[in-house]
């Protein structure tokens, strides 16, 4: 189910039972781009992401989430988290096709193999998650997301638990394979934000701000000087908001 990737707009205040979690939030997630939601741990980044994914949360959105093609977001969003969410009893191959099985749809084995090759797991396709390294597990999660082939992809710190080498590989692979999708990338790391996104939101309870990212092409290399400059300025902004 591939459609043209829409852009998404979330407007409104997010309230939990007795307090306002985010006041007057306005997020624009542009089509075919990576938009970053940057914020410190525990601030509620994942909650915003869950709202967009249509998952149950402890909060209420006084406002709306709309896409520019006016179609519903449900079944057009896939979700990749820090926890790879692989089923321990299913092989790599079976994990990748989970979505089709849950919907009761047939899937193309050809497409599955193509994706497995793309993420470099062809020799590991019959293995179980416990036989894989952290990077291979995350590749499997990426392959599962690619198999879903939804126009909108939500990434919740997917590189958070990887070592630096593996992270570099995963960043490149993920960025390349999600080309043409509308991506919301949640992270607490300004460096990752600067390297991948041309629009960066710094999430705050009172006032969330939008910051221009670097100019394409993405992803920037980790040694790119402009990345360090932007990272520095983002850090300063986060710090000034704190004090």
């Amino acid at each position: 189910m591939s459609f043209a990737s829409p852009s998404i707009e979330l407007i409104g205040s997010v309230r939990s039972e007795n307090e306002v979690l985010f006041r007057d939030l306005r997020l624009v997630i542009r089509a075919n781009r990576w938009t970053c939601l940057l914020g410190s741990s525990g601030i509620g980044k994942s909650t915003v992401l869950r709202l967009i994914a249509g998952l149950p949360t402890h909060v209420k959105l006084d406002g709306s989430i709309k896409s520019d093609d006016r179609l519903s977001l449900s079944n057009r969003v896939s979700y990749m988290a820090q926890n790879d969410l692989l089923l321990p009893w299913a092989s790599v191959s079976d994990n990748i096709t989970l979505g089709s099985k849950l919907r009761g749809h047939k899937y193309s084995s050809e497409k599955k193999l193509k994706i497995i090759k793309k993420v470099g797991l062809i020799q590991h396709r019959e293995k179980y998650p416990f036989q894989l390294s952290g990077g291979q597990r995350q590749r499997t999660a990426l392959a599962r997301t690619l198999m879903e082939n939804t126009p909108i992809v939500l990434l919740d710190e997917p590189f958070g638990s990887l070592d630096s080498n593996t992270r570099e590989e995963m960043i490149d692979l993920t960025f390349k394979s999600l080309k043409g999708k509308t991506v919301l990338f949640v992270t607490h790391d300004p460096h990752e934000a600067a390297r991948l996104c041309d629009s960066i939101y710094i999430l705050e309870h009172q006032k969330t701000t939008n910051n221009k990212g670097l100019k394409p092409p993405f992803p920037k290399t980790y040694s790119d000087k402009s990345v360090f400059d932007l990272q520095y300025s983002l850090l300063e902004k986060i710090k000034s908001k704190r004090s």
């Binding site: 869950r50 969410l85 989970l98 979505g99 099985k101 849950l102």
Partner: protein, 247 residues
């Protein structure tokens, strides 16, 4: 292999203390027979014990199979239908407050002296542990898997089939292993209360005739059968469901 040696050591040490007790306390043989006289009694009455053990084994196997199936069906029903959970679960817990011993005479009255009342007894005693273990597993499927399924547009039935049931298989296995231990207890209780065959019947008979050595021989046979059943079921579950149980 190491485990095997430990088991033999444990067994030998029990025999040692048993023998020691007899040497020092010198109880009359009708109170506590020597291990040797139990062995002799086992040898002399082998065919008798064998015949009665066979009846008990059949009762246990039928009870275990039916009880596990009923328990699984109940657990699935409780998971699928909220109303069933609300109505049936308190009832299920209440049923556990009645000692099975107390129902045994009733079952004999209703179902007769034959095998049926023992099978039902075994079913009653294992039904709750299986239901409870399996339903716990089903209802404790991690939320993160269900969230993932929701974004993928999974239907409730397919979520059950591909996520909840596989996730709850380790719990179900614990329930079944527990059932393998309880089922012989159920069958023997049934036999005590009223029967003309089975190891429980043989024990009561031997007890009444002060053939304590025969009683011990029957008792040890029952223990051996229970342990064999437990190990066999554990092994079968392990090899057939390894990928679900490993984690």
């Amino acid at each position: 292999m190491k485990v095997f040696i430990y088991i033999i050591c444990a067994f030998l040490s029990i025999l040692f203390f048993w023998e020691l007790l007899i040497r020092f306390a010198e109880p009359p043989p009708y109170i506590l027979p020597t291990p040797y006289s139990v062995l002799i009694s086992f040898k002399e009455n082998f065919m008798l014990i064998y015949e009665h053990a066979l009846v008990t084994i059949i009762e246990v196997l039928i009870g275990l199979t039916v009880g596990v199936i009923l328990g699984m069906i109940t657990a699935l029903t409780l998971e699928i239908f909220v109303t069933a959970r609300l109505v049936f679960r308190p009832l299920l817990i209440f049923s556990q407050s009645i000692p099975v011993f107390a129902i045994a005479p009733l079952l004999t009255l209703w179902l007769g002296y034959g095998i049926l009342s023992k099978v039902v007894m075994a079913i009653l005693i294992i039904y709750f542990p299986v239901t409870s273990a399996f339903h716990d597993g089903l209802s404790q499927t991690p939320k993160r898997y269900l969230d993932l399924a929701k974004t993928m547009g999974g239907t409730p039935w397919r979520n059950l089939l591909y996520l909840k049931i596989p996730h709850s298989i380790p719990s179900l296995c614990s329930g079944i292993k527990l059932a393998a231990v309880y089922a012989p207890i159920g069958a023997v209780i049934g036999e005590w209360v009223g029967s003309s065959q089975g190891l429980g019947y043989l024990m009561i008979l031997a007890n009444g005739r002060v053939k304590t050595d025969l009683m011990f021989a029957s008792l040890l046979t029952l223990g051996f059968l229970s342990i064999t059943l437990f190990s066999l079921i554990g092994y079968l579950l392990q090899i057939s469901l390894a990928k679900y149980v490993r984690t």
